[in-house]
């Protein structure tokens, strides 16, 4: 899914320019620059407190930046309230109006914009169908499950056909299975409505699988921005490398280098792959974990440092195939898979 | 099952209702006289219901020392509370009550109090003649208590604002001081209007302001309804009226001497008078419970509080006039000029002008049943106030 070509026209729909926001003495975000293109699925990824949600709230208009500029569809909206921005938000806690039925919730934005009654009914039905909640219009939010509520929250936002849809950890409260189901739902819906999605999550796998591009946040700043492949394969900082998946960091020849565990090969001691262009180092297995699809080894290299090596169990696993704890091994990798930091 | 339970509850409710009903209708007629020959030895205890200020240590302590009757005091807040207290526990809980004229007949006809032998009270003969056998505590010559103290319901006015000095109640019935008039919030106020009508509309034939036929009651009611728009406030407590005069909310009204004295002490320019038409007055009576447990102590108390010294102490403490004429010199001893201030040395004509409170009853003084009772007065008063 991640490798699908992005339906990107190149036109910038959201531009965030050197934005800074502080709460009392704490800097929430600073030097944030973003350019989100029309139709893109763009993710703000980062641990909690990294500034990703603040950035989303600044774009939504729930917070105003101390400095910097925010543009939506070419218009400066830096100082505008949320109701004057052509965007809609899907909230983490759904934020459904508890006293309104599902249909009333969805119709709320259309009513405020003065859409005709008949059109409202059609569009609400259409939105309900899109999120697969036909026939739920008369229910109250309290009568729905968590996943259904999230769909209503989504329908309530997209029914307004905004330029940009902001999603603030929308799947955070759902269990794993439901979350995966909703991930593909979201992609399907985005394709259907062709709206720019700006997505906030702390789940790196979710970010990699869903995004066209993503920005990794750390301590109020953007560490790296790019496609999932770029960010995963060529992390520009140690933080990014560690936050997206596991990584091995080594000091070699006065350089700090990084190699992903799955890009390392484990062979018997003295069994070098130098002929195939691999760089190899000897080591001792300190731990061996069988995971099923693969096995994970912790190997102490003779040149210093303990690395994680992941080996796919391509053939049926057997004890003879496995490396034992304390076994002397050779760890090899291709130089082109090495990232210099 | 459910229905059975329901019937059970209803039955319980009806049972309780019946109990409540029984409680309210136990007593009936006045108690027949059964006088003691003399006052015996005290029983050691005396339980009294009194107005606050009627049983101060100043005169209670010497009584206890002299008679070894320990006085247990219960203060009541209203005439109604007094009536209720005297009926409590079958009527034997308290021995004596200092009942006002608007409660005495209720206690007598309710059978809550018993006749008292005035011959056993030495100072009785020194009482003002008007308070020896007043209709509010004496029925067919039988005394149901010993008068204690009293006060007139005077016309109080602000001497700066009300000129010339009024001599008639007409000042509170005319527009002259509209919105600055205050009268008591009490149905007995109808008697004040009736008293005024006795003088101004003799054709109504009112003989006693507390014995009104329906027609006379209506006439008094009409007068008071016409007065309602002139009223600033119907006062409930003496302190209310004092405040109204202090703050300039009222400049003329019906009052007691107590208010006048308090306001004068606070340098408010007021004066009071008993107008030409006369005035109503309140008078309190010590009454003996029909089932008194300590009758000897009760008689000793009535004997004691009738003496000039106690009468004077009580009068000055409370701001009232004693029933005992001989209290005059004792009053002046306690506070110079107080005898005159409270009109105890006034000529007989002064006392004749005062019609003491008594509870209106359906039975008129002449035995006919054409008069209006207190319930009617109460309803009329409600209509007047609105």
């Amino acid at each position: 899914m991640a490798s699908q070509p992005a339906p990107v026209s190149g036109e910038i729909i959201v531009r965030v320019n050197n934005v800074r926001k502080t709460y009392r003495s704490t800097v929430a975000v600073e030097h944030v620059d973003l350019e989100i293109r029309r139709g893109e699925f763009f993710t703000l990824l980062g641990p909690s407190g990294s500034g990703k949600t603040t950035t989303l709230r600044l774009i939504a208009g729930f917070e105003l930046p101390d400095s910097g500029m925010i543009e939506i569809n070419g218009a400066d909206v830096t100082k505008k309230p949320p109701y004057d921005r052509d965007i809609n938000t899907v909230f983490q806690d759904y934020a459904l109006f508890p006293h309104m039925s599902v249909a009333q919730n969805i119709a709320y934005g259309l009513e405020t914009r003065g859409v005709k009654r008949a059109d409202i009914i059609t569009r609400v039905d259409e939105a309900l169908r899109m999120v697969r909640l036909e026939g739920f219009g008369e229910r109250l939010p309290a009568q729905l499950s968590g996943g259904q509520r999230q769909r209503v929250g989504l329908a309530r936002a997209i029914v307004n056909r905004p330029q940009v849809l902001l999603l603030d950890e929308p799947l955070g409260a759902l269990d794993l299975k439901l979350r995966q189901e909703m991930q593909s739902e979201l992609k399907r819906i985005q394709a259907e409505v062709n709206i720019t999605f700006l997505y906030v999550t702390h789940d790196q796998e979710e970010a990699l699988t869903m995004s066209d591009r993503l920005a990794v946040f750390n301590k109020g700043r953007i560490e790296q921005m790019g496609t999932p492949v770029e960010v995963y394969e060529k992390p520009s900082t140690e933080f990014v490398a560690n936050f997206l998946g596991t990584t091995n960091i080594l000091d070699r020849d006065g350089r700090r280098i990084m190699i992903r565990p799955e890009k390392m090969v484990l062979t018997g001691s003295g069994d070098t792959l130098a002929a195939a262009g691999y760089h190899g180092e000897p080591g001792i297995v300190r731990d061996a974990i069988y995971v099923g699809m693969f096995s994970r080894y912790l190997v102490e290299l003779s040149g210093g440092a303990v690395v994680t090596v992941v080996q796919q169990n391509l053939d049926r696993f057997s004890a003879s195939q496995a490396r034992q704890r304390g076994e002397h091994v050779q760890v090899s990798w291709r130089p082109e898979n090495v990232n210099a930091l | 099952m459910k229905q059975q339970r329901m019937t059970g509850w209803v039955a319980a409710g009806v049972g309780i209702t019946a109990l409540i009903a029984l409680g309210t209708t136990a007593m009936a007629a006045p108690v027949k006289p059964d006088y003691p020959k003399s006052i015996g030895k005290g029983e050691g205890q005396l339980n009294i219901v009194a107005w606050e200020g009627y049983a101060q240590d100043d005169w209670v302590k010497p009584f206890e020392a002299a008679t070894s009757c320990k006085v247990n005091r219960k203060y009541a807040g209203s005439s109604d509370e007094m009536v209720t207290l005297m009926r409590q526990g079958g009527g034997s809980e308290y021995d004596l009550v200092s009942a006002s004229g608007d409660a005495t007949l209720r206690l007598i006809y309710g059978g809550a109090v018993q006749p008292v032998s005035v011959d056993l009270i030495d100072d009785y003969k020194n009482f003002l003649p008007q308070l020896q056998s007043p209709p509010h505590n004496t029925i067919n010559g039988i005394h149901y208590g010993i008068s204690y103290d009293w006060g007139p319901n005077t016309l109080l006015y602000n001497t700066d604002k009300v000129t010339p000095a009024p001599t008639s109640w007409s000042v509170i019935y005319s527009d002259a001081y509209k919105g600055k008039v205050t009268v008591p919030d009490n149905p007995i106020q109808i008697a004040d209007a009736a008293l005024y009508l006795m003088a101004t509309k003799p054709e109504l034939g009112i003989k006693d302001p507390y014995e009104l036929t329906q027609k006379q009651l209506d006439a008094a009611g009409d007068l008071l309804k016409a007065q309602q728009p002139l009223i600033k406030k119907y006062w409930a407590l003496a302190s209310d009226e004092i405040e109204l005069f202090k703050n300039g909310d009222a400049v003329v009204g019906a009052a007691w001497p107590y208010q006048t004295n308090t306001l004068k002490a606070a340098n408010v320019k007021v004066e009071d008078t008993i107008p030409a038409e006369g005035a109503t007055g309140w008078a309190d009576t010590w009454m003996l419970s029909a089932k008194a447990k300590h009758p000897n102590c009760a008689y000793l108390w009535m004997q004691y509080v009738s003496t000039p010294k106690v009468q004077a102490q009580q009068a000055i403490y409370f701001g009232a006039t004693p029933a005992n004429k001989l209290a005059c010199s004792e009053m002046d001893k306690l506070e110079a000029g107080s005898c005159t201030k409270y009109h105890l040395d006034a000529p007989a004509s002064y006392f004749d002008k005062i019609k003491f409170w008594k509870t209106p009853r359906a039975e008129c003084g002449d035995g006919s049943k054409s008069c209006t009772n207190y319930t009617k007065w109460q309803q009329k008063w409600q209509q007047i106030k609105g």
Partner: protein, 302 residues
């Protein structure tokens, strides 16, 4: 030996009893509920039944005794006499106006407390709202009497501002002001509780969907604050309906409430049946009020 057996017997019985409760939880609940429920039924409901029953009796004009015969006399008097009609209307009307006044005053205040003020200011405002409740009801009413009297603070201030004196002491206006003042905390507190419970995200969601301040207030905040408003209004309405002290203290002529009539009839006139009949009016009005509130769905979201 004997001592041992006598000691084990009660504990054995106790254990069996507790086992019985364990097996039959309903029995346990019944056992737990019976004393308070019995008390409630006996004291409260029986008193209500007694009240209703005695309302149909009358008092004999001559003897003053209660006649235990069913009759509608009291109700006919109440319905037929313009005085009693006017007093009932005045009481209910004042209760309604005071309730509306308190809603109008309390809502912005509670909103400010719940949604705008910081924690410190909020605590201070809470203290400010609740502080008067620590002083005597009478003291507060009396102080208003002093403020509104002819030479009182109000007229003194008006005179200093060069304005003509207001003569509202001892009038229904005074009662309106005093009632609105003394019951205000009972309105602010439940509205505050209701507003405070609204998740912040709902405000953002409304704004996000294009709702400006007024629309958010009308469509989101008010409906969600409604249970609090209704709860507060039940306080202010019933407290005003049942009051008889404020009319005595700050009312003028033509200020009597139902409570004053009941008091006068029980106390002064000893006409308990009539008092019972008249006291049934606020009871009926309150029942209707609660039914309407329920119809409005006020209790569903509580």
């Amino acid at each position: 030996m004997t001592a041992l057996t006598t000691q084990t017997t009660p504990s054995g019985a106790l254990r069996r009893f507790s086992a019985l409760l364990w097996r039959h939880p309903r029995f346990g609940a019944a056992l737990l509920l019976t004393p308070p429920l019995g008390w409630f039924v006996l004291i409260y409901l029986a008193a209500l039944v007694a009240l209703f029953v005695s309302a149909f009796w009358t008092v004999d004009d001559f003897t003053g005794e209660i006649i235990h015969e069913w009759s509608l006399t009291n109700f006919i008097t109440i319905a037929g006499d313009p005085t009693y009609r006017a007093i009932a209307l005045r009481t209910v009307g004042m209760a309604a106006i005071v309730t509306i006044t308190d809603i109008v005053l309390a809502f912005p205040f509670a909103y400010y407390m719940a949604r705008i003020a910081g924690p410190k200011l909020r605590a201070a405002l809470f203290a400010l709202v609740l502080l008067p409740l620590w002083s005597s009801y009478l003291a507060r009413v009396y102080s208003w009497r002093l403020i509104l009297s002819n030479d009182g603070l109000l007229n003194w201030s008006l005179a200093h501002l060069g304005l003509p004196a207001l003569n509202i002491g001892y009038t229904n206006w005074a009662m309106w002001i005093v009632f609105s003042y003394i019951w205000l905390p009972f309105m602010i507190t439940p509205i505050y509780a209701a507003l405070e419970r609204i998740p912040h995200s709902l405000f953002e969601a409304s704004q996000d969907l294009g709702g400006r301040g007024f629309r958010t207030l009308r469509k989101v905040v008010l409906p969600l604050a409604l249970p609090g408003i209704i709860a507060g209004s039940i306080f202010t309405f019933s407290l005003t309906l049942g009051d008889y002290i404020t009319p005595i203290l700050v009312g003028g002529p033509g200020s009597d409430f139902i409570g004053n009539v009941v008091y006068a009839n029980v106390g002064i006139a000893n006409n308990i049946p009539f008092a019972a009949a008249y006291a049934a009016i606020p009871l009926v009005v309150m029942c209707i009020y609660l039914l309407v509130a329920r119809r409005l769905g006020a209790f569903e979201m509580m």
